[in-house]
């Protein structure tokens, strides 16, 4: 069983360029080199649990909630289960590591929340 470091429900699949734009980082610099790895960790190398369940495990498990509970030992709220994507992150880069007081996890989450809000506004 992979241990979850983070679970990130999103109504859309984040886009790398929009991620950089929200962080006010331009491509092809040290900033994009470091935060590109953050993006990859959160949204490329992570497990998209909803996609994984729908593609491979919906026959074996009656509900997504049960699948996530049994397979990963995580309980997800009903609201989060409604999200289009549920990313489970099992490894974090040093920049997001809670062992460092000045890690950038909160800054990245705030940026993702802004992108999520913008995306939801555009849908309505």
């Amino acid at each position: 069983m992979d241990n979850a470091k983070l679970i990130i429900p999103m109504s859309w699949h984040p886009d790398r360029d929009e991620f950089f734009e929200a962080l006010k980082i331009r491509p092809n610099g040290l900033g994009s080199q470091l935060f590109g790895k953050v993006f990859d960790c959160l949204f490329v190398r992570s497990h998209d649990l909803k996609r994984e369940y729908e593609r491979y495990y919906s026959v074996e498990y009656p509900t997504l909630s049960e699948y996530i509970d049994v397979r990963y030992g995580e309980i997800i709220s009903n609201d989060d289960l409604e999200a289009r994507h549920i990313f489970l992150v099992t490894w974090l880069p040093q920049i997001l590591d809670a062992d460092y007081d000045d890690n950038k996890l909160d800054a990245v989450f705030e940026c993702l929340a802004q992108l999520e809000d913008t995306h939801l506004e555009n849908q309505t």
Binding site: I25, R26, G29, L30, G31, L34, Q94, I95, Y100
Partner: protein, 132 residues
């Protein structure tokens, strides 16, 4: 990310070279790193700038081609970087080698663990080398 196989100690350090005709300012560093001053992660890069400047203050200034050639066996800069150092000295630019440690704060530790090169009109930093 740099990966060390076989025995791994708890800390590591990376050597880098800084080539420029001037001191590294925050503005120039952020510009070259591609990070806006009002970025929500700008403080990390400002801290990196500070760590690099602190490291350079204790670095080794190379004044001649012989100094550069003397790095053989001590540092492991690529032949291209060695040639660039020699050319910079010929043109009267500052060439300084210094170290970053993984034992430091987040900014220094991230730089230490990363293979990177920053190039702008104002300066050049190469940190491809790593020793443990």
């Amino acid at each position: 990310m740099k990966i060390k196989l076989d025995f791994v100690s708890n800390s590591s350090s990376t050597s880098f070279v800084y080539i420029s005709s001037e001191e590294l300012s925050e503005k120039v560093f952020l510009e070259a790193a591609g990070v806006e001053l009002d970025s929500p992660v700008a403080d990390l890069f400002l801290q990196m700038h500070s760590e690099i400047c602190n490291s350079l203050a204790y670095g080794q200034k190379l004044s001649s081609k012989e100094d550069v050639e003397g790095l053989t066996g001590t540092y492991d800069f690529t032949p291209e970087v060695i040639e660039r150092m020699k050319a910079a000295i010929e043109q009267g630019e500052n060439v300084i080698t210094a170290n970053l440690s993984s034992d430091g704060a987040l900014a220094e530790s991230v730089l230490c663990m990363e293979i990177f090169q920053i190039e702008s009109e104002k300066f050049f930093i190469n940190a491809f080398n790593n020793y443990w």
